[in-house]
Symmetry: C2
């Protein structure tokens, strides 16, 4: 049985189905493979309607879902309510993406002459890969779990989803799947377009299963790399999209520290402790000037952190990993404790905010690795060149943040050039912890931020992960996919025709 | 030393530099990493000019390049001249792609309110990965080798290239690199944007090198899988784009066999022996009706094959692999020899066209694997359901071809649905061996056709392999990449603004 545990008490509140057996897995993956056809036949408009219906179903079950998720994660009803809103918005966004149609990259080259001789009629578009495995994250039980971005984008693409029930929120996972299934049925969909499996062994078998054509994963570097290796070692390797986390450095330039150091200090305190520091975009290190302005920023941070209470963490494993990471940092000879927040309670799994300072000796091992939880390491820099040299020590990340005033522009431009090689998102005079769901969002980055730097796990373009191109050569109009016909019956969409991009209207 | 061998005689005509040493590799990869900056600073228009200049340089060296390639490959000056034209055209196409700018997927979401609260200004585009390793194919010494599609698309993306000199055409590889370098210099480019390395050990070290950010490979399944595994096992895994080859099934429907069986037989004979069968798109198996019309088609094929001469193959290894594969097929109890072409000469490496028939017992092992060279296996089918069941036996492929008349439409539609799940390109009433360089071409497919089904190695969209997304949040206009500014100084380009796709003009 899989326990549903309340992190505020550490007590098991419910128990779920046993592990998925091999026979179950065969049945579930076969049903997913069969569902591919129905998703294709729904066409874009039908899948858009299905996604919106799923969102309405989540809405109908809002109170129940939020209550269960709160009991399993301790994240609180306000945050979880907002997250559910985001999750519904995300389903709606992919309905918009489908109706727009540009994501298909439909391209037509009419037959013609070239310097290499006659060219046939060629028509290219993207087509779904097939069933997809989804491994959600503990820290976003809705938005990055069963009903989250991987599922929404895969279904939009036309790929059925088999999701692993997350150990840290199993009941939320199951109830979410039921709500999505109810929404699909309400839209007239008969197949199992989203199903769930339970347990670690079944998870490995899922990644290895021949019916599974790609994997979306959000979680730790260690588990992500392990499953990435499994996906790559298959007789038929499949794409593995792991969003793993990062150190997310914040660079505070000299003038910014001077003009608004106190405000930056308070902003940093709020950002690194948001959700008890359990964000993959949490700032893990901040580079601040070694100056009286930097001192003022640091003092503001210290003051803010000392006022912060402990928070309940997502699971025993998360709390233990944070505790272990904190000890490794504290005990490092180049690291000094600057401030701590309030202590936790006796029952449950609590994390105390922790602010550290690392000197030159401290810039190795633990300081360069992500520690998931409410800890931030300050590093002071001397010259601008020092700042850039320090930044170069940190690896690729999901985000890189710059605080700069107008007078900081020259060094800020150099920082931006470096970040363009190493991060997925550059944040200017802000904090990295918010990840908007939109057309222009990129949530990704070079390894180890993700296992595939070409793709995003958030935003409209995340649909590209589940699609592959196909070309049709001289195929008669009536046998082409609708979107490649001379006059699509489903309405016009953006297409590139004979090298020229054309809009739908 | 690396020998340059004439396959018509098996004699060594020249010898090249020794293997690239570790020290050389460090120097070469460091120079490539340094070249990334210059390619970025050139901007799209500068890189377009560089690519066109490279094409002009290839043109200036045409006679020399074709003569050397002919001596190393035996492909003949007419074919090689055409291939060089194609290679130049390909460089020009990527110049067009750069000038168009749509490949950058530039996207702007202005700040605004959402159901989740205010959203910052977000701007997304694609940015180069960094230096790329290229492993060309033996069978296209220009178009899929040092000056070929991988190099052209990577340079267009802004990624310097380190190419491995191919053992089967080393001097062609070196002279091609020199011509590209001359073209780059003529365009004012100072860095080593294309360099070459020699030898098998250096090749593995190149894939493992931290400066290399992605690999383009065209070649065999065995070598491709080996290097794919190396790329995936790195501490920092990198994308590996292997284009490996396929069986490329051809389905001849009943009415098509009746109305033009003889012509299809002759077309198939020409297609499977084109370039001595050394195409990754060579049709390896044809499904024909078990009927008098199928017999007529087969007789036409037999007649055509018996008239065909032997051809010189690319290398001793290619010839030996073909000879070994042919023996395995011939000796299979379910396989029967229908026809053979003329024999080869005593000197040099010759391949004789071979036409086989497989019965139900024959549909395993060797018949289901690609045999690189001039061999085609015919399989006869009874009912339409038989035809579809046979097709299901063959794995994914680069191409799938259907010959069908109007009366065949119902079964052809079913074949097309199956092919949409398993091939990269569907060919209608044609032959798969021509791969046009254009916007709508897709040259790829599910594994084992390629190691990454999401991408193509031919056509305008192959540039996507070398680019990753990056988002900028609230970054001031002057610090953004030009293409994301409100008014790009390099001219307008297609962008998606607040969810709406807008054209350049």
């Amino acid at each position: 049985m899989i326990p549903s545990v309340d992190p505020r008490t550490g007590q098991t509140a419910a128990e779920l189905d046993a592990e998925t057996t091999s026979a179950d897995l065969e049945r579930i993956t076969a049903a997913a493979a069969a569902a591919t056809r129905e998703l294709a036949e729904l066409s874009r408009s039908g899948r858009a309607e299905m996604l919106r219906s799923m969102g309405r179903s989540l809405e109908r079950h809002r109170d129940d879902l939020v209550a269960i998720a709160d009991r399993e994660t301790g994240l609180g009803p306000v945050r979880l309510g907002g997250e559910l809103t985001r999750t519904r918005w995300q389903l709606d966004l992919f309905a918009d993406v489908l109706e727009d149609g540009g994501y298909l990259e439909a391209t037509i080259d009419h037959a013609g002459d070239t310097p290499m001789g006659p060219r046939p009629d060629l028509r290219r578009m993207l087509t779904p890969l097939g069933p997809v495995a989804v491994f959600g994250a503990s820290n976003f039980p809705f938005a990055f779990s069963v009903p989250g971005g991987d599922t929404a984008s895969a279904l939009a693409a036309g790929c059925p989803v088999v999701a692993k029930v997350h150990d840290a929120h199993p009941l939320t996972s199951v109830r979410s799947q039921e709500a999505l299934a109810e929404g699909a049925r309400a839209a007239g969909v008969e197949s199992d377009v989203v199903s769930v499996i339970y347990g670690r062994r079944a998870a490995g078998d899922l990644v290895r299963h021949p019916s599974i054509r790609a994997v979306g994963f959000t979680g730790s570097l260690s588990v992500g790399r392990e499953l990435f290796d499994v996906a790559g070692a298959r007789p038929t390797p499949i794409p593995f999209y792991g969003e793993l986390g990062a150190l997310n450095p914040v660079m505070v330039c000299r003038e910014a520290a001077r003009s608004r150091g106190e405000s930056i200090g308070q902003g940093l305190a709020a950002s690194f402790t948001l959700g008890v520091g359990q964000f993959c975009t949490k700032p893990g290190v901040a580079l601040i000037p070694a100056s009286s302005d930097g001192d003022a920023l640091r003092d503001a941070l210290v003051g803010a952190v000392e006022q912060l209470p402990a928070g309940v963490m997502l699971s025993e494993r998360t709390r233990n990993a944070f505790a272990g990471g904190s000890v490794a940092l504290r005990e490092h000879p180049g690291v000094q404790v600057l401030a701590e927040g309030g202590g936790g309670k006796e029952r449950g799994w609590w994390g105390t905010p922790l602010l550290l300072r690392a000197d030159a000796r401290g810039l190795d091992g633990p300081v360069l690795d992500e520690c998931f939880g409410p800890v931030l390491v300050l590093v002071e820099y001397g010259s601008d060149d020092d700042l850039l040299a320090l930044l170069a020590r940190f690896g690729p990340a999901l985000t890189g943040t710059v605080h700069a005033d107008d007078a900081d522009r020259p060094v800020a431009a150099r920082i931006l050039r470096m970040l363009q090689d190493s991060v997925g998102r550059v944040v200017w005079n802000g904090y990295p912890t918010g990840v908007a769901v939109s057309w222009a969002m990129h949530h990704g980055g070079p390894y180890p931020a993700t296992t595939n730097p070409l793709h995003t796990s958030v935003g409209a373009t995340s649909i590209r992960r589940w699609l592959r191109p196909i070309s049709f050569q001289d195929v008669p109009d009536a046998l082409l996919p609708d979107e490649l016909r001379d006059r699509p019956t489903g309405g016009q969409l953006p297409r590139r025709v004979d090298g020229r991009l054309l809009l739908a209207d």
